[in-house]
């Protein structure tokens, strides 16, 4: 298990893994260590990690969802699909690097892919604007959805954003309109749409590529109307109450499945997708193939009708006649 960055709550396991690494290095120096002893410690580390990850609090899930080593949209696109061709620009203002779009193949099927893209180092983070799109990013995504519909290609979207960017230019160029237009257009697309929350599903900026026939969530990702910090600042008047807000908001995959907002949870390897990305790619690819096969049974009219009913049914209220 290679892990470059450990989270605070993972500290106890980190210590155990360090001891294991030490044992292994002594071994190469010729000191006798029984294979059994090493295997035992290795098992212990795996168990500790599995145990830890089986009972993460919502605020710990938030940290994993935002983990800097976590696979991002382009990682999934490059490892789940083949022959990716990136397509750029909204044809009106600019190309927004915070959303990537293009054509790719899932097995033998040509599809359209898109998603918010975060950066790994400082330079990339700035280039990708921390995965926070401007209106032109959403308009590029819309252009790709319409292209997919014209050519009858299924759409796969990857959601990973703290939210749409709150800035002067973004407001001036119609951030709200760009999101709204996508919500409406996605509801009428005559091709299968599969959305996957792979990290942070932040508010309207996430939903703008999330009106799908099937909404999947990686096991340790989150999806929420507002960040726990933002919610705490407003409702608790104290941003440090983010733990409480994360819990109250019910932002993890298991809660969202119960609420019927998502359709399926995709298993991650023990300790999160970043520890064994290959396993995460493989798991997601299997679910994609299944899900697409299911949706391909439906006519365009059924797809549009069922998608409408799916979102139509969301919400809980009482009614006195």
């Amino acid at each position: 298990m290679i892990c470059r960055h450990w989270l605070e709550f993972e500290k106890p396991v980190e210590e155990a893994e360090k001891r294991l690494a030490e044992l292994l290095s002594y071994n190469t120096e010729g000191q006798e260590r029984s294979a059994a002893e090493i295997a035992k410690l290795d098992k212990k580390v795996r168990h500790a990690l599995k145990d830890l990850y089986s009972k993460l609090t919502p605020s710990q899930v938030t940290q994993v969802a935002r983990h800097q080593d976590r696979p991002y949209t382009l990682d999934y696109i490059q490892n789940v699909f083949t022959e990716f061709v990136e397509l750029h620009g909204d044809r009106a203002f600019k190309d927004d690097p915070a959303i990537v779009c293009g054509l790719a193949k899932l097995g033998e099927t040509a599809v359209v892919v898109m998603g918010q893209q975060k950066g790994r180092n400082t330079k990339e983070k700035v280039h990708r604007n921390f995965g926070m799109p401007h209106p032109e990013g959403y308009r590029k995504a819309l252009r790709m959805m319409e292209l997919a519909e014209r050519f009858g290609r299924p759409i796969f979207t990857f959601i990973d954003t703290p939210g749409a960017y709150p800035g002067i230019g973004a407001e001036e160029r119609g951030q709200a309109e760009a999101i709204a237009a996508n919500l409406m257009r996605m509801s009428t697309l005559r091709v299968p749409v599969i959305a996957t929350v792979i990290g942070e599903g932040g508010s309207g900026g996430a939903l703008a590529i999330g009106v799908a026939d099937r909404v999947l969530m990686m096991e340790f990702s989150t999806y929420s109307v507002i960040s726990p910090e933002g919610c705490a600042a407003i409702l608790w008047k104290d941003a440090s109450k983010a733990d409480l807000a994360a819990k109250a908001l019910k932002i993890d995959a298991a809660e969202l499945l119960k609420l019927g907002v998502i359709d399926r949870i995709v298993k991650e390897p023990v300790g999160g997708a970043h520890r064994e990305p290959e396993t995460a790619y493989k798991n997601l690819k299997t679910v994609f193939i299944d899900t697409l096969a299911e949706l391909r049974e439906l006519t365009p009219e059924d797809l549009v009708g069922l998608r409408y009913e799916k979102f139509r049914a969301m919400g809980v209220f009482a009614e006195r006649k």
């Binding site: 002067i168 409406m184 409702l235």
Partner: protein
Amino acid sequence: MIWFKKEIRANGEEAKSVKVPLGLWVKCDHCGEIIFKKEVERNLDVCPKCNYHFRISAAARIGMVADEGTFKECDAGVEPVDALDFKDLKRYKDRIKAYQKDSANKDAIITGEAEINGTRAMLAAFEFSFMGGSMGSVVGEKITRVVERACETGCGVVIFSSSGGARMQESILSLMQMAKTSAALGRLRACGLPYISVLTDPTMGGVTASFAMLGDVIIAEPRALIGFAGPRVIAETIRQKLPEGFQRAEYLLEHGSIDMIVERKLMKDTLSKLLAMLRRDTGAA
């Protein structure tokens, strides 16, 4: 997504839009004038000195545009539920009760059917005083129903927005109302029926980023604050002073985001004219 009530009032600039009651007199916090209350009311809750458009109730709004005696409310029995058992400093259940006690409304919106200068239309008006006009399941459901009813009966839709955005106490369910209402408007569009969106002070967050910005025609009241992100959030993010008039109706008109700014006294006639001109049986050669 932003949701504000007290926040907006605590903030210096936003506080201007609050009418301070002083018995028979009101102080316009925009121009500072003390004005006889009756005079303001006669003037459709617009300051006679500076033309500031005060925030008004949903009922007052409907009264200003519907022909007398024609408004029939729909879905009045739809009520909020604390589905997530949400508790911040207070329980959501208790907040609902407290607001309902102080309000004539069960939630932040009134919907129904009316005639506007003889043209039948579906109407929706936000009640900003109910939890900052925030959109939860009730608002989403009532808007969706009113739009679906327009599709069934073949008339246009007018929505007066006034909202801080999504209702955080309904968490993800409130976010999903954005998709739900936008999808309903997609159907209205497919039916070829007009939707006029009227943005009043303030229209923010998830409301702006869904049905409010999807009008065939988008109207705003003078000086209304309209945006996706709140001005405070933007200022904190970019660490810069915001431009003069930023996110105000006039600024949006200049930047091409809305079709027109209409004063309250001209609203009814403007709406009926637009609805009549966009009706399917008129104008076609």
